[in-house]
Amino acid sequence: MTQIAMPIVVTLLAVVFAVAMQRIGPQTGATWPQRAPFLGGGQPETHAWQRFHVRYYPMTLLFIAFEMEMMFMYPWAVVYVETGLTALAEMGMFLGILSVGILYGWREGVFRWQ
């Protein structure tokens, strides 16, 4: 309880502060030309919100699989000194296995813009 009290309190403080500061300024209604997205004088044909082509999508999939290893690494770090060489070897193996995935992804070009 005491551990997460302060994060919650400062989060609430920050959000309330930010919202209040945005409310104190002049609040004017904007005209349609003013609200148009900035394109240096040009105009868009459609809304910007679209089925956005995320050019790096294979990377994100590789990333969520790879990132899972973090869950195992934090507890590992805590007991590392007590366990010694075993811990080093096991984590070396674990990271080695996952690095193969990164190497494979690199050779398949997933870090390029598709």
Partner: protein
């Protein structure tokens, strides 16, 4: 105080979980789900699991970010500019959901749950580390291999450009007889037709 916080967080988790299926914008839906996960993570910290709780927040922030990317990529009208409902078998689903909730709650209320709380001052992260490197070592390494398989599978399925060019270009199964027409389903379009014609004679 803890109880009040627990109630507030539970309400937040359930409310935002419900909103996931009620908002029009896919970005909002993904991040509503993230809020639900954050609330559950904070409840876990209240339950003396500081590692699992915070790590849930950490992992789910990332996963829901990726979720939002894919939601926007593949959903029609991703920002919900036109309000929409894309559901099927709605009544059945509502019934199934309520039934699951009622059944599980009844099971919880009726069964006699053992009481063995976490001892005060237990070093839960250290225990988990010893568990990972000791008895459950195999699980840990298996997870590594599973994740590797996932990575490779995801890349194979999703990536289009490989080392040898586009993945669907020029790939054709070998013929059943040497030099014969490719086996399997004929690809659509002119090329397939040509081969079909050739093989027919």
């Amino acid at each position: 105080m803890t109880d009040a916080l627990f109630l507030a967080l539970s309400a937040l988790a359930i409310w935002s979980g419900w909103r996931v299926f009620r908002v029009d914008s896919m970005v909002r839906a993904s991040f509503q789900l993230m809020v639900s996960f954050i609330a559950v993570g904070l409840i876990a910290v209240l339950l003396a699991a500081p590692y699992i709780g915070i790590a849930t927040i950490f992992m789910m922030a990332v996963e829901m970010m990726v979720m939002a990317l894919f939601m926007v990529m593949f959903m029609m009208n991703p920002a919900g500019l036109n309000p929409m409902v894309m559901v099927h078998q709605h009544r059945f689903s509502v019934a199934a959901g309520s039934l699951a909730f009622a059944g599980l709650s009844a099971a919880v209320l009726l069964s006699d749950l053992p009481v063995r709380p976490v001892p005060e001052g237990a070093e839960v992260v250290r225990d988990l580390g010893h568990e990972l490197l000791g008895p459950s070592m195999l699980i840990f390494e298996t997870a590594g291999v599973t994740l590797l398989a996932t990575m490779i599978g995801a890349v194979v399925l999703s990536a289009h450009s490989g080392r040898y060019g586009a993945s669907d270009a020029g790939s054709r199964p070998p013929g059943l007889t040497p030099g014969g027409a490719p086996a399997g389903r004929k690809p659509e379009g002119g090329g397939g037709h040509h081969h079909h014609h050739h093989g027919g004679h």
